[in-house]
């Protein structure tokens, strides 16, 4: 009944918007544009290759290690009771010398799958289950299966679509990378001739910017007075750049305007101050890179209030060699998502107006590799051709999204990894424009159209 009501409401809304062209922020009227459903979107690529068995299926050790212990270790995102035995995913119980023996307290009173809609069986349907392919598919809606590493996505990213067709500024769009490895710095714009750097989103890998490299080469950078000093620098630089600008030879900037460039610098300076004073807004537990990245992402949300923020996490990938650490990082990833949702609701401009989307970039193998950890548990890779790597989920919560709805199931997979780009385009009212460009994977559809 609820689902029927939702579809009815959505249909009425769609019918209403077809004949109501929406005026873009840039002032242009686009007949294929509808009123946005959400003012802000945060999309988390979660979090380095997740097995369905330990995530949505809540099987804990029952399927991975052939031990009869089931339970939900992602209780900020999913509804379900946690395991009651062999707890190894939490904080270390030093008093009793049990590694990972104390589960982290939930942050959210209500799990996100009850606040929003869960697609529990989504497919990563093409290509091999590699991190870059997964991340690239997430931001471009195209698997680009013939593309190599160390090159930009061949199809436009959601940042480019939104900057070009929804009139977003550069600082409206951010990719917050967990690091600079795995070609992550290439994910903020594509190599597509009609889009590219002109419409790219901003990128930051905060654990590097504010970690040792940034501390050595960025921290305590000099502030130039905007009127007496910076103006002169810009005047002289503009003169020097004249010839090069004419020939299209530029430093690879992202078309942030002067105010936006200043704002980024101020953000970097302010964040260094918070790092040094220990006043960063970090999750209660922040003992891995993913959780620190989430904390920095919250700082970025607070500062810029971007329209679209994509965050990626990767610590779960430790599963290649350590299953116990994988469980710990999966539990922490969920902790990070709970924290992120809570903090979004604490930003006055974004509270109640933000859609959160969470999707793993790909799954992991069904069968283990031979590596065993200290608990004698086997590790898991993500191998090409293993069907279990194609099993992922999508979760979204925010304004207008049906609460507590599950779409699809184990025997009825619904959704594709390429769906998130049209879904975000849908949320911002430019779905038709994006789809009509013909550059998405043929299977890609807005998740709203799959309900």
């Amino acid at each position: 009944m609820k689902r029927r009501n939702f579809i009815k409401t959505s249909s009425l809304a769609s019918a209403g918007t077809i004949s109501m062209p929406y005026i873009l922020p840039s002032g242009l009227i686009n007949m294929t544009t509808t009123a946005p459903m959400s003012e802000y979107v945060v999309f988390v690529l979660f979090a380095g290759g997740v097995r369905q068995q330990e995530a949505v299926l809540q099987r804990y050790l029952a399927e991975g290690q052939n031990e009869n212990v089931e339970g939900n270790i992602m209780y900020n995102m999913l509804t379900g009771a946690p395991p009651d035995d062999k707890i190894a995913y939490g904080l270390d119980d030093t008093a009793n010398n049990i590694i990972g023996g104390i589960p982290i307290d939930p942050i959210l009173q209500t799990p996100l799958d009850q606040i929003g809609t869960l697609f529990p069986e989504v497919r990563f349907s093409k290509g091999g289950a590699g991190h870059f392919t997964g991340l690239s598919t997430g931001v471009s809606g195209n698997y680009s299966t013939t593309q190599g590493l160390k090159s930009r996505p061949s199809a436009p990213t959601i940042f480019e679509y939104l900057r070009r067709h929804a009139g977003f500024k550069a600082t409206d769009c951010w990719f917050v990378g967990v690091g600079i490895t795995g070609s992550r710095p290439l994910l903020n714009f594509s190599a597509n001739e009609d889009y590219g750097r002109r419409y790219g989103g901003n990128f930051i890998a905060p654990t590097t910017t504010f970690g040792s490299p940034g501390m050595q080469h960025f921290m305590n950078f000099k502030n130039y007075h905007p009127d007496t000093e910076w103006t002169k620098i810009l005047e002289m630089r503009d003169f020097l750049n004249q010839n090069f600008r004419n020939e299209g030879l530029e430093i690879s900037h992202l078309y942030n305007d002067v105010e936006e460039e200043d704002s980024i610098k101020e953000f970097v300076k302010a964040t260094f101050e918070k790092v040094n004073s220990g006043s960063l807004t970090l999750p209660p537990v922040n003992d891995n890179g993913d959780l620190k990245t989430i904390g920095y992402a919250v700082e970025l949300l607070n500062w810029f209030k971007p329209k679209l923020t994509v965050v990626d996490m990767s610590n779960i990938d430790v599963c290649h060699g350590n299953y116990t650490a994988y469980l710990k990082n999966l539990h922490r990833g969920d902790h990070g998502i709970g924290f992120l949702w809570r903090e979004i609701q604490r930003i006055p401009e974004m509270a109640g107006k933000t859609t959160l989307i969470v999707m793993p970039e790909h799954g992991r193998d069904l069968e283990p590799n031979p590596i065993m950890d200290d608990n004698d548990w086997f590790a898991y890779d993500h191998s090409g051709g293993n069907e279990n790597t194609r099993r992922i989920f999508s979760l979204m919560a925010g304004p207008g999204i049906q609460a507590g709805l599950r779409v699809g199931g184990v025997n009825n997979p619904i959704g594709d990894a390429s769906d998130i780009v049209p879904t975000i385009a849908d949320l911002f009212g430019v779905k038709d424009t994006v789809i009509n460009k013909g550059l998405l994977d043929p299977t890609a559809r807005s998740l709203f159209d799959r309900i």
């Binding site: 990378g177 050595q216 080469h217 960025f218 305590n220 620098i233 090069f244 030879l249 430093i251």
Partner: protein, 167 residues
């Protein structure tokens, strides 16, 4: 007999001279032309972007008059790669170096006492070329008309200019 022979020889000589005179008097035509020359800016040969490593090592050498160490280079490279907008990243890097007590800048007095030499040296240091006359005059005028301008601001502009990032 001798008279006849010498007479024939004389006729032959006269004929030969006549032919030579006729040939030498032929009018020759010369056509002067100009080869097409493509006129390009003095910096037009710099059409390749420096890699981040190249940019950092050259910048560091220009700012500190010594080579950057391998570990410092690696860290600087990572820092640059962690920010997507490279103009912003370069601005932050250069302003960080400007805050370093070891940075080597000419004095403001030397710039004021001989602006032309300062401009020529700065072009040579950062852009590896001499300024054009127009560039030279613009920069000298800019320096002379702004008493509060410092060598640091000039160096910053050159270090973060597009030309400095190309070779």
């Amino acid at each position: 007999m001798n008279m006849q022979t010498s007479g024939r020889t004389a006729i032959k000589l006269l004929g030969l001279i006549g032919i030579m005179l006729f040939v030498s008097c032929e009018k020759e035509y010369y056509v002067y032309g100009i080869n097409d020359v493509e006129i390009t800016p003095v910096n037009s040969f710099k059409d390749k972007p420096k890699t981040h490593s190249q940019y950092i090592s050259i910048l560091y050498a220009n700012m500190f008059q010594k080579a950057i160490g391998p570990n410092q280079m690696l860290q600087a490279l990572k820092a640059i790669e962690s920010i997507g907008d490279k103009q912003v990243a370069y601005d932050i890097l250069v302003s960080k170096y400007m805050n370093d007590p070891d940075v080597k800048l000419p004095s403001n007095e030397s710039m004021r006492s001989d602006p032309e030499e300062f401009v020529r040296d700065t072009y040579k240091r950062f852009l590896v070329r001499q300024p054009t006359e127009a560039e030279l005059q613009w920069m000298i005028n800019y320096i002379e008309s702004r008493p509060s301008l410092t060598t640091e601001l000039v160096y910053f502009s050159f270090a973060t200019s597009n030309e400095h990032a190309h070779y």
